[in-house]
Symmetry: C2
Subunit: 448 residues, 2 copies
Amino acid sequence: MAGSSFIKVGASENIYEDKMHHGHFNMCGYAAPKLDTVRIGFIGLGNRGPSHVSDMTCIEGVEIKALCDIRPEKVNTVKKSLEGSAHNPEAYTGGKDDWKKLCERPDIDVVYIATPWSLHTPIAVYAMNNGKHTCTEVPAAKTIDECWQLVETSERTRKHCMILENCCYDFFELLTMNMARQGLLGEIVHGEGAYIHDLLAGNFSKEKYYDMWRLKENLRNGNLYPTHGLGPVAQVMNINRGAKMDYLISMQSKDFMMGKMANELAAKDDFYKPFADKSYRGNMNTSTICTDKGLTIKLQHDVTSPNIYSRIYKISGTKGSSLKYPLPGKFSIEGNENWLNQQTYSDMEKKYTPDIVIKVGEMAKKVGGHGGMDFLMNWRTIDCLRNGLPLDIDVYDAAAWSAIAPLSEWSVANHSKPINIPDFTSGSWKTNQPVGNTLQKGGTTKVM
Amino acid sequence: MAGSSFIKVGASENIYEDKMHHGHFNMCGYAAPKLDTVRIGFIGLGNRGPSHVSDMTCIEGVEIKALCDIRPEKVNTVKKSLEGSAHNPEAYTGGKDDWKKLCERPDIDVVYIATPWSLHTPIAVYAMNNGKHTCTEVPAAKTIDECWQLVETSERTRKHCMILENCCYDFFELLTMNMARQGLLGEIVHGEGAYIHDLLAGNFSKEKYYDMWRLKENLRNGNLYPTHGLGPVAQVMNINRGAKMDYLISMQSKDFMMGKMANELAAKDDFYKPFADKSYRGNMNTSTICTDKGLTIKLQHDVTSPNIYSRIYKISGTKGSSLKYPLPGKFSIEGNENWLNQQTYSDMEKKYTPDIVIKVGEMAKKVGGHGGMDFLMNWRTIDCLRNGLPLDIDVYDAAAWSAIAPLSEWSVANHSKPINIPDFTSGSWKTNQPVGNTLQKGGTTKVM
């Protein structure tokens, strides 16, 4: 037969063996018991946390029960913003382990985690072990071992562990997924995503990230922030749900800027002394992933160079393709040498905009948060929990998407050699069903 | 020291050992004796050839001496187009080896080669051995062995072997290179290029490519057409001239379309029977290259999927970046969150447009040929030959840029493992001088 039969020799490095656990409880498609009211505790109120809290005040059936941050002023600011609302959360602050007390409360259903990356998994595991669903900011885990901790804990406790990948709820990404599901792009061949965002000044800021955590993260190499690019592509490709990511290769440029800046700052300001003379993440990481069905995914990561923000969201199929960045979202359909014109695009948009955008999109745009996608994500999550529906994004997604960082770190450190991507579903990907984010079910939760 | 000191372990596969020849004659920067009149023979008049011939009729000091194509009608058409001009070339046609006779003529200085890919190296080697300079269409060679044949022959005969990489003469690529040379983008970190061009119908056309040669080429995997993307990036990065490409990794999607189309056509039309049930190149190839100085280059190749044409020309530096496709060429400079606006871009363009564009650009646009870049390239080549100047693009560029195809083919076939990129300069890259295409010298040849 023609087609896919080029013989490949050799194999990826198999550093992390799959922890197949037969008879495991499959959390993909798992519907937890309905919650009429969703009682939430928020941990981490620095950058992303307050925005999630604010979203929740606009969603029916939510009770904000507790707020936690090690810095009292962060808790106070959010608490103050809730004055006069129906919410009067208890504050947990000042101690390094206060988040544990929040997780232990019996009157909380969901813990939202927006802390520095290194606390995402420890808190999520602790919260699930205390009977809470968890929604964690990206990346959900920093190591392959942490990925497995999330999976094992979620399966054992039957608690959701969702990764708050807001880009899966971007209007254009949702439109593309719906068009792809309807077959307009044909068979999907290739996808791209990126996180190209100049954060150099922010990473060296003394105020922006608690205890300089984000600068310290950059002492690792690899694609450290893969999920914004990967999440929407993985959903279109049905990764973990009929398909799986097989192996990846990763290459990184040298660091041309961070080490230099650290040294320059340290020469003028003792505060930066601990950051001098260190090896920082190279500017640009380019990783490519091959799926079991021979689809490819290209992911890039550069948060140092002075580039224009881009997630390079591209889906390329046998009948058409979509692309966003540097242009606004565009579609091309076979037989055309140019992008669909404005009129045709508008017609497509009218026909294929998914129900969730029609229902909640306008409100989401008003509430804001990355153009509305944050609100769509939070509303959808609450709506699923209140209707006893599976979440669109499960613990296997959280694990597989986050795993790209440590896997790419290994490949970069090993001369860009290929490395296998673990199957966190223990084989269940073969029969797991695709989930659209398109309100096939639910949608009853009101927006206030 | 901070920066580039992440320790990498392992190594690329070293399939093709460097053929270091000490005491070799270095063709980089080589100035051949001046030619007052440049007498040209053209081989291959199917698609690209006639356009080169037409360009040459507008350039002072050129004599078109001979035309060769296996198909008489192709030669006749071009010969007819020259009626009434100063040129009355002799025709070579009908026989498979007629090109040899052309190469043997004593009254020709340069052989232009625009044949199917598999003849580029055999003809170039034969022509150089017969004392001719050679300008060959892309790619110059199909295998690493052919790359070395070109290098060894050029060094031994001291004849130029230029690859006709027209994209190096695109106005935006030239502007970017000039701005990069002036330091406006800072240190260069990362570059990108691509050949994304839907040629599916063309490759299966019975007429477009002689004896279906281009379809047959697609029975190989890999990035088969890397030079349009790589050439301009390599020039900005001074590859072979102070820097070198170290190793590459390559990943390819499955073939989703060509095999299927071949089988469908064969079912209806016996002509296509020999093309049925074969393995074709996968739709999308993504290759990444690491240089000796830790810069990275990403190259893509998809000539099957219905995408909008793109060469994704990107240069990313420590102070700014350039990007062309899907937008027209844009620059961003550090401190700005958006692309330079139209006014600032125009000011930059005015200040940094290189002399060659100022001098010949208007005429080039009139003559046409990919927006003028073809003419700029051909004029510049003739001008260098007439003034006894080194060409902008030499045999080492021809070899290194073309080598990406077989190297990526190997990597794809070997599970995307890294592979070393041979040093075709035998170490001379360390001291070779960068060449700008900016008319530091020459420029005397008139346009007619």
